[in-house]
Symmetry: C2
Subunit: 447 residues, 2 copies
């Protein structure tokens, strides 16, 4: 089946069918939908309709859909489930990582209730374990379900044991090889398993070159490793090297995506993770911080202008926007380049090298911009003094902004603050203000 | 092995060893390195040293490393390989997608030479096929290597055939089920294969719910589907439904990453895909377009200021930076939200709904900003007329910029232009200019 986008007409039709209480027709209609699409449908229906539909779904399917829901929608939809219902209808049908995810969003007293209502004590213990790991660590996003074999087994026994283990694991991405103390030694490839004699011992054919993380590795580092080494799955070990779980690529894709969106929003001046669909209040709240910082910059700029007493040279006013905008633009460009190379871990130059290069780039762009502006101001019939002032100010502003835009994210990074903050308000606003200051200082010297 | 970042001291030591021509010691030192790390090492050595090291690597390992190299470094390193050497030492050791990738970067005459020098005619045909697909389509990034079974086979025969096919395939992510005409019917899970009696026919146990793309699907759509449905691998079919190849998650991670970086660079005013490490010339070239557009805006702003004859109200100059910056900031915020929801395919509102909401957000933020500025200007002892002018201008500018910032990317998207362009120069600069125009128009009315 090719997946089509869930268009509004399908949502409307299903909504009508639900109104006329033809729930069976709805179930027939969505039978071929993937869980992700049912989740999207629920998110777009009224809450009451969504609840009715979710209740009508077969238990296992409902659980799959619940995993894919938006966190907020999920909270509303699950509100009326008792702890026991949650445990037996939802959690028991899920992998440990998804189960832990959903449970961690519940209120404290309900978490306890759910864990107590689970019928399988192993599952309850595994989930409780996962809930203990600190947020943003490998432990907090790993799953316990995996297929492992002992290095001393023959391949025949592996196949037999894997058959048993695979019952519990949805998708087998890797077969881990451990020693008698459960310490991770390597992986056994499916290819080797299929193409080697079944009498061969595992120890002769497994791959020892394995990339692993510990339970306390930061999720962004996990994402970096999986991306760099193109891994579908990465094993997680404790500090004794024992195999604790595994993280699959889809969880890491989510981390990467969140990271990229955060940087993008930072660069566009949004202070919180918002989307178009959020409320007017949430959107305004995310926008105001940058606007207010920008306005603070504007107020300081106004003080700079007043300080130099613009009424003496009113013709200077015309080029203030140009100077301020150019300073801001150059600063953001420099900062973005640094943020990107820090994120890609490709920052191999020394800070001095980097600054010297930025000086070069600054000078090249500054000379192009300044000579152009000199010609333009002359063509507009501006006085020679003003043309010279604008051009010299431009060179100084561009060179300064280029180096400042580089230094700020590097400094933030040194103090373990997310350098992407620099591409937001701080660099632009500071460069606006300092740009004007430079402009007027040059003017004072020349005019 | 835990992977450590390749630090400068390791690079320096290896560089020294290469100088003293202890190539064997270098080979021993990097024996445990993953291909990705060897590639990074080569990128950080001098070209001559890198060449020497690459030549010294065993053939299969060299091929793995070459795949991981930066495009430009790869071009320099491969320059001296003849077509025949490339074919027999590099290409023959690679999967079809990587092979096609590397060949497509070569000069036209060399492509021909390489294809002719391949010993396996099947491989040559497969690569030539892949080279035919248009850039940015699923066909252009898929690989031909896959494991497939016929729906009419029993599982026992599957295992036997898979053993044979697996010889050619590095990692088995999925087992595809096809009919006698090679049309894709579904997938057989490893779990089913391991846990079902070997006498069962494939047709009874395979999964018919399969997400697939056609050879001409755009890579960004492929990425969207794989991310949405958490797929490790996605099959590619032709328009008759025949199985042509498969795309793995790592290729799509690259697409996602490029996409995210492009949007980020667009939002930060960089016109081309550059990194910190590029040359001063390349960096200047990527920066100048936005700077020049910004300067054009600055020149137009200067005309607006001249047109309203600022020397009549020189005190207005002080708040020009504030008005211009706020307009630009609001516009970018709006545009970024639209770009993001278009990219996430979560844009479900009608344009009218969206604009009404933006009007709401604009009004809320505008009222907060304007009342604050009214208080600040009053506190600074500015004349009442000027305070009122600044506040009214702010409200108008913010509301206008919010709606304009929304409309521009939506319009670009309608005309199939990447809406992310809007977060770059166009919206900021236009809002700067229009902001000043509004400011002076309000002043004309009031003062």
């Amino acid at each position: 089946m090719h997946t089509k986008k869930l268009n509004q007409s399908i949502v409307d039709r299903i909504s009508e069918l639900l109104e006329s209480s033809s729930i069976d027709r709805v179930l027939a209609e969505i039978e071929e939908f993937h869980p992700e699409d049912v989740a999207e449908l629920l998110e777009r229906l009224d809450l009451e309709q969504a609840k009715a539909l979710l209740y009508a779904l077969p238990e296992e399917r409902a659980a799959e859909v619940i995993v894919e829901l938006d966190e907020e929608v999920r909270a509303s939809l699950l509100q009326e489930y008792s702890g026991k219902e949650l445990a037996q209808e939802v959690i028991e049908n899920l992998d440990s990582d998804d189960a832990a995810d959903i449970i961690s969003e519940l209120p404290q007293e309900k978490i306890h209730e759910v864990l107590q209502s689970l019928e399988d004590p192993d599952q309850a213990r595994e989930i409780a374990d996962l809930l203990n790991y600190a947020e943003d660590t490998a432990g907090s996003i790993m799953a316990k379900e995996l297929v492992k074999v002992n290095a001393s087994w023959k391949l025949m026994r592996c196949l037999r044991e894997m058959r048993r283990q695979a019952e519990k694991v949805d998708q087998v991405h890797a077969i881990y090889v451990v020693d008698d103390d459960d310490r991770l030694l390597g992986t056994l490839s499916l290819k080797k398993l299929l193409t080697t004699s079944t009498k061969t011992p595992v120890s002769e054919v497994y791959d020892r070159k394995i990339i692993k993380v510990t339970t306390d590795t930061h999720v962004e580092e996990v994402a970096r490793l999986m991306r760099k080494y193109d891994l579908v799955v990465i094993p997680v070990v404790d500090h004794e090297g024992r195999l604790m779980g595994r993280i699959t690529f889809d969880d890491v894709m989510d981390v990467m995506k969140e990271e990229a969106e955060r940087d993008y929003q930072m660069a566009s001046g949004l202070a919180q993770d918002v989307e178009s669909a959020d409320s007017i209040f949430a959107l305004s709240k995310a926008r105001l911080p940058w606007l207010l910082i920008g306005m603070l910059g504007g107020v300081i700029s106004s003080r700079v202008v007043d300080f130099f007493d613009i009424s003496q040279y009113p013709e200077m006013a015309a080029f203030m926007p140009l100077i301020a905008a150019t300073g801001g633009n150059v600063g953001v460009q420099s900062a973005a380049l640094v943020v990107q190379s820090l994120a890609n871990d490709s920052f191999n130059e020394s800070i001095l090298q980097k600054l010297l290069k930025d000086l070069g780039v600054g000078l090249v762009t500054a000379l192009v911009c300044a000579s152009l502006m000199f010609a333009v101001t002359a063509a507009l019939g501006k006085p020679f003094n003003l043309s010279i002032t604008v051009s010299i100010a431009l060179v100084s502003v561009i060179v300064f902004a280029a180096m400042f835009g580089t230094l700020v994210p590097l400094t933030l990074n040194k103090f373990k603050i997310d350098p992407a903050v620099a591409t937001g308000p701080f660099v632009t606003t500071t460069n606006d203000v300092i740009g004007l200051f430079i402009y007027f200082s040059v003017a004072k010297l020349i005019m």
